[in-house]
Symmetry: C2
């Protein structure tokens, strides 16, 4: 039985999983859950994912939740090519970089948070966009400072793209959504360019998903 | 050279690292960074942690950032007792549980977010508390649903406490800050009681730190 991923074209966490599967050459089927319209709250999806979020990774009847747990699992069951290096200190650095967006920046800009800002504070579309710009910029600035200390060579951990690059590229996807210029973050921009030159990254970008094309056609 | 942790009494991420070090029996020195007064933005701390967050783990001149990366690193360099099981599916489940608070619930209630709500939306103390209650409750409810599907026996992954329990206990610490009753979440409450019966958890609770006692004496 193949790999299935419940995901959404716009979800940056779903983007991370798509890139990882493609870097490893693992075919998968993506089942769309429209988290903008609230499809994740329907009982059918709660049976799949009790947290009601995407992505959910399913293989041989076994489910894994949370993009970082999915990437770690993939690296354990299909170690080549590695997303996380073998050396303990390098593994820690890769995970540190990953978590700066996964645990600090990206959680602040997801749809359920944007919706709650509107409900709780009456925030309008412009204020919600400014909120997203603030946290997306904070994340980019953190990565820029980190890459100044340890330049990408050419990827964050060395010769090959992996976990850290996937997560930094996801942060850049957030900038693409908001049409933020990357000029203040040249090291991040150069790393993202190297990533998106690779088919695994390019074909996984939200703007390349069928759901984006359908959504755009309706506007 | 021993282990040093830059942390803060109130930080739930610092709590996770304290528990992990104590479960493994590793002595450490905690260096306080007052993230309520903004000490993390001073140049001295930026040299330690470019993201300007706690915790920072330092051992033999090597730094690790982000609580989950620190716990994974500790499990790699000091495997016994394990915080993350050996089986790949069980490892994935432990990390999934951990990330529900680390990547989804906890990031929404940290000081920099509460401060930005005040700046961006003019949120007052009551509105910020309601925001914290909303996301803390969402996280507790997710854990309650998960523990209904796979009951703790007696800990989340089995006989011994580990990564998932540390993270669920941290979510409960968030409820303690807000004085939220745990009656709607009986499975989470019972798991937290089992955790806080252990010295590694009890002595790591924010309310047991010297900084809390000093802060309370000033009010």
């Amino acid at each position: 039985m193949g790999i299935q991923v419940y995901g959404f074209w716009r979800s940056i966490a779903s983007f991370r999983v798509r890139v990882a599967l493609r870097l490893k050459g693992l075919p998968f089927e993506e089942i769309p859950i429209d988290i903008l319209s609230g499809e994740q709250f329907e009982p059918g999806y709660e049976a799949v994912n009790v947290e009601r979020v995407v992505p959910t990774f399913i293989h041989d009847g076994h489910s894994v939740f949370q993009s970082l747990a999915i990437l770690e699992y993939l690296d354990e069951i299909h170690p080549e090519p590695r997303l996380i290096p073998e050396d303990a200190k390098e593994r820690a650095y890769a995970r540190s970089l990953a978590l700066m967006t996964i645990a600090d920046s990206h959680p602040l800009v997801v749809p359920r948070v944007r919706n709650h800002l509107a409900r709780a504070f009456g925030a309008d579309a412009k204020a919600i966009e400014a909120w997203g710009e603030h946290w997306t910029t904070e994340g980019l600035a953190t990565y820029e400072r980190l890459l100044a200390r340890r330049p990408a060579a050419p990827f964050a951990l060395g010769a090959k793209p992996g976990l850290a690059d996937i997560c930094i590229a996801g942060q850049v996807v957030g900038a693409h959504f908001l049409k933020l210029g990357l000029a203040p973050f040249p090291a991040v921009a150069a790393l993202a360019d190297r990533c998106f030159a690779l088919p695994a990254f390019a074909t996984s970008h939200p703007f390349e998903q069928p759901g984006f094309k359908t959504a755009s056609a309706h506007h």
